[in-house]
């Protein structure tokens, strides 16, 4: 009897598994081995954060994490100066950010004019060997190439050598950029509630939503805000119109890509993307950008990584304008600026030889979305009745 039962199980279970697989495919829509509607997949990026590799005991930062701009300023003051500048202590810690920011010799804002201070303690940077990211310059020894400056490479957590991620080296020992750090959490929250700089990802020419060796991935900016559910979470499968001007989309760079088992892997290319966070709006071109995006089985969500050379000037504009977040972000603006210049490893200036970009990697989380083009809006009959 037992043998018979086992025999039945052997015959039945594969059938059951196949049935479940078919069902799953049908439920999710995108998991099916069919083309999605209009041969298109769409996503809206919910989270965009620098990919920071963190070890259990912060071994990557052997000298510890950086102290804040405020703390550096505070330590430089005598007790009498502290009393004078804080109205005898009435201006509390979190409200001193603007005082510490304006600590230049002539009261300059040291985050906007970081070069006016030269004697801050140097920024503590990552000294570990492991990082997220990709090999952007094509070599594994960190030597200079026509499009990169000499730098130290990382290995990926899986042991792949040649990982270029100097942004991680720059920010990895700054508390505000690490997991649960206020800088990127605040930026995400501001994007979520303001609807600014929302990135849309559209995958076209899709014949098979799970496996297709030739698709096109295009990046747009949305003019519509996230719809949120009652708990403040983004609701998937919403429609977003792309930001469009007279002669076409304001953003709309494309990369060729493939899909393997639900993972989208783009080729490399220059892509302009919008960014908003901590009161700053950027529109950097990420050079040699490539993206890996894994779609969940139910098709409702996706997560992955974007890597490329980030425009350093734009990045420093962003970090210099963090405002009050700098207090809790914990770094010295002048030291950060000096280190960033030193870490830059991409696209040397032909005249000075200084690199203008910094290798980077960002974690992205996205939701399934419908990307609406202007021609769709104008073609569809509206019904204002």
């Amino acid at each position: 009897m037992k043998t018979q039962q086992n025999q039945m199980k052997r015959e039945f279970l594969p059938v059951l598994a196949a049935t479940v697989a078919i069902l799953t495919s049908a439920v999710t829509g995108v998991a099916a081995a069919d083309a999605p509607p209009n041969r298109t997949l769409g996503f809206v990026v919910r989270d965009w954060m620098p990919a920071v590799y963190e070890s259990k005991f912060i071994d990557e930062c052997p000298a510890g994490l950086n102290i804040s701009n405020d703390e550096i300023w505070w330590r430089s003051l005598s007790k009498a100066e502290r009393s004078e500048k804080t109205q005898d202590g009435l201006i509390t810690t979190l409200d001193r950010w603007f005082l510490s920011k304006n600590r230049g010799p002539n009261g300059e804002d040291v985050c906007i004019n970081p070069e006016v201070i030269k004697d801050d303690p140097p920024l503590l940077t990552v000294e570990g060997a492991t990082s997220f990211g990709v090999n952007l310059d094509g070599n594994v020894d960190g030597s200079a190439t026509p499009k990169s400056c000499r730098h130290d490479n990382f290995s990926s957590p899986a042991g792949v050598p040649g990982i270029d991620n100097q942004l991680y080296r720059l920010i990895g020992c700054v508390y505000g950029f690490r997991d649960q750090g206020v800088i990127e959490i605040n930026a995400n929250e501001m994007r979520r509630t303001s609807g600014l700089a929302m990135i849309l990802i559209e995958v076209t020419d899709v014949d098979d939503a799970r496996n297709d060796d030739d698709v096109t991935v295009t990046f747009y900016r949305s003019i519509d805000q996230f719809p949120l559910d009652s708990s403040g979470q983004v609701i998937p499968y919403s429609s977003y119109r792309i930001d469009h001007k007279d002669d076409g989309p304001r953003y709309g760079d494309s990369l060729k890509a493939s899909i393997v088992d639900g993972v989208i892997q783009t080729s490399s290319g220059d892509v302009r993307l919008p960014y908003y966070g901590n009161y700053n709006y950027l529109h950097p071109v990420i050079r040699d950008m490539q993206m890996t995006l894994e779609i969940t089985d139910d098709g409702a969500d996706a997560k992955g990584m974007v890597a490329g050379y980030y425009d350093l000037e734009q990045y420093l504009y962003h970090t210099g304008g963090l405002g009050p977040v700098i207090t809790t972000g914990n770094f010295s603006c002048p030291a950060f600026f000096e280190a960033a210049k030193r870490m830059a490893d991409g696209y040397p200036d032909p005249e000075t030889g200084e690199c203008t970009h910094i290798s980077s990697a960002f974690e992205v989380k996205a939701h399934a979305a419908f990307v609406v083009h202007p021609e769709q809006t104008s073609k569809m009959e509206t019904a204002e009745r």
Binding site: T19, V20, L23, T24, A26, V27, G29, D224, P227, D229, S230, S231, Q233, I235, P236, Y237, S238, S239, Y240, R241, F370, V372, Q376, T377, M380, E381, T382, A383, E384, R385
Partner: protein, 562 residues
């Protein structure tokens, strides 16, 4: 459209075809009915709002709720006949009346809404007051004010104007008075002697106009209809037909049709609809509002704009969506910032018709899961006019709700009922229909599995087999009970009561005529609105003058009288 109707007619069962031939193809005239005693119906909130907006403008805000009506025989329109005005209910009417009157005479509106200018705004102006109340009172009461009513309004206005030193304050108080009288709050069947009628009575022209207007437009008569009433045109077939045809062409017809279907489909339930948003993140209050609006837009577009056959509301792929519904249906919308757009579900889509829309599917589900029983019951009771008995009070839900039970799908859980005789009797009426919608969760999102198990959506509707919601919708489309139910309920809605025994033949006549028209709702509206039966009355009961005094309780009558 015509071909579609012909197909539809031929696809009907033989009994309907026979009825068509028997009653209409042979030129059968409208069966005689005996009429009913005159009565009165309280206006609904929507009717109140429509009348005020029609008379004074859309900008007049009406921010209050009145006492609810009791849904009777499947319609609030019937419950309105038995509505009482309680002291607290009267207070609500009074507060709204004060608010409306205050807005009418405020400095922004008085120049337009008060059609005469007093000689001295700091005192009473009898002529101007009389002019105002004569004009406005005719619209509000749906007839000219009697001399007594006019004197009451004018003298009240004059007295207050003199007391407060402000003509407009007087108008405000006088208008408030008009807005809380039974003649405004109730649609009254006023009658007059008629020697040509078997009962010796008929509705007055104004009463006919009101009945007609509230039926087709869900509001009070307009100027042309009042003039037709005044001239006696509504007592002639030609005059009545002219007015009905004019009203059917009006933009206000959509408002009337919406009102009927809101009542017919019991859409007031949306006001208390709740869902577990942890389970259904796409459900929001806005989404629920959109779901109701989608149902009504679909129906109005289908029956009014397109004049398409009524049964096709169960199979049409055409509808309207907004951003909230786009997330539930997982379809793109071109106006994510708001607004409606037409949408047609693809031919191979699982959805077709109003029963696969979020409105129906979410309304007849539990807060955290779907319900084949509630959906099946709604189909039976609302759309087929069949009564499903209430469940017994001693139901043991332990088997059905056992979280450790091996059953994963609703069908598996509901088979428990088949083993309990006291449950099986009703559930065999509801569940075979409702299980056809199980591929839609508690808010109408599509799924093919529940807890990993395939959902079987086959079933039958009174012998017609179906294998999914779409073929169930087709079975509804083909069911002779669907147009029959609509006909009965539409006539009940129009008359404010269920058909009397001697009206059954008339209702069958309407059904046959409806079929012959290719199930044009507009044709059915016309048949009812131009019929003699719709207006037939007998002698008032107890010698009343047409106003059934029992509709107001004694205390309220005293308050109104004072």
């Amino acid at each position: 459209m015509l071909i579609s109707r012909m197909k539809l007619s031929f696809s009907r069962t033989a009994c309907v075809a026979v009825a068509v031939f028997a009653l209409t193809a042979c030129g059968e005239s409208e069966p005689q009915t005996g009429g009913v005693p005159p009565d009165m119906r309280r206006v609904t909130v929507e009717q109140y709002r429509n009348v005020i907006h029609d008379v004074f403008g859309e900008h007049i805000e009406i921010a209050s709720r009145f006492d609810p009506l009791v849904r009777t025989d499947g319609l609030f329109a019937i419950g309105a006949r038995n509505a009482l005005v309680t002291p607290s209910g009267f207070e609500k009417f009074y507060n709204v009346a004060r608010s409306v009157a205050g807005q009418v005479v405020n400095e922004d509106n008085r120049a337009v809404l008060v059609s005469c200018t007093p000689e001295d705004a700091s005192s009473a102006d009898d002529a101007c007051s009389r002019h105002f109340f004569s004009e406005v009172g005719r619209y509000l009461y749906r007839r000219p004010l009697t001399e007594s009513e006019m004197e009451t309004a004018v003298s009240a206005a004059n007295e207050v104007a003199d007391q407060f030193g402000d003509f407009y304050t007087g108008i405000e108080f006088g208008l408030t008075g008009l807005l809380v009288t039974p003649s405004f709050l109730f649609i009254v069947d006023e009658t007059e002697p008629d020697t040509s009628s078997p009962s010796g009575q008929r509705l007055t022209g104004y009463a006919k106009a009101a009945r007609l207007s509230f039926f087709l437009w869900n509001s009070a008569p307009d100027e042309m209809l009042l003039k037709a009433a005044e001239s006696g045109d509504l007592h002639t077939e030609k005059g009545m037909t002219r007015q009905v045809d004019r009203m059917l062409q009006s933009q206000f017809l959509a408002r009337g049709v919406r009102a009927f279907f809101e009542d017919f489909l019991d859409l007031e339930k949306f006001e208390t609809l709740e869902k577990d948003t942890i389970i259904y993140p796409a459900y929001t209050v806005k989404a629920a509002e959109s779901a109701k609006e989608q149902l009504l837009r679909t129906i109005v577009d289908h029956t009014v704009n397109k004049d398409a056959p009524y049964p096709e509301i169960f199979t049409t792929r055409s509808t309207f969506v907004d951003s909230h519904l786009g997330r539930v249906y997982r379809v793109p919308v071109t106006r994510p910032d708001g607004g409606w757009e037409s949408y047609e579900f693809p031919e191979n889509d699982v959805r077709a018709g109003i029963l696969t829309q979020m409105g129906f599917l979410s309304l007849y589900s539990h807060p955290g899961r779907s319900s084949a029983t509630l959906r099946g019951k709604a189909v039976r009771e609302l759309l087929l006019c069949q009564k499903v008995p209430d469940p017994p009070g001693d139901i043991d839900f332990s088997l059905f709700n056992d979280p450790n039970a091996p059953s994963r799908t609703a069908r598996q859980r509901l088979t428990v009922h088949a083993t309990v005789p006291s449950c099986a009797g009703c559930h065999k009426l509801t569940d075979p229909i409702g299980l056809g919608f199980e591929q839609f969760d508690g808010i109408g999102q599509f799924r093919v599995a529940e807890q990993g198990a395939v959902i079987d959506v086959s079933g039958d509707l009174d012998g017609n087999q179906f294998d999914n919601a779409k073929s169930l919708a087709q079975a509804m489309h083909d069911s002779p009970g669907v147009p029959a139910c609509l006909t009965n309920q539409l006539y009940s809605y129009a008359a404010g009561r269920a058909p009397e025994r001697d009206e059954r033949e008339f209702v069958r006549y309407l059904e046959a005529s409806f079929a012959e028209s290719g199930y044009s709702l507009q044709a059915l509206l016309r048949d009812i609105a131009t019929s003699d039966a719709f207006y037939a009355v007998t002698q008032p009961e107890n010698g009343d003058d047409g106003v059934r005094a029992a509709s107001l309780n004694d205390k309220t009558k005293q308050e109104l009288g004072s």
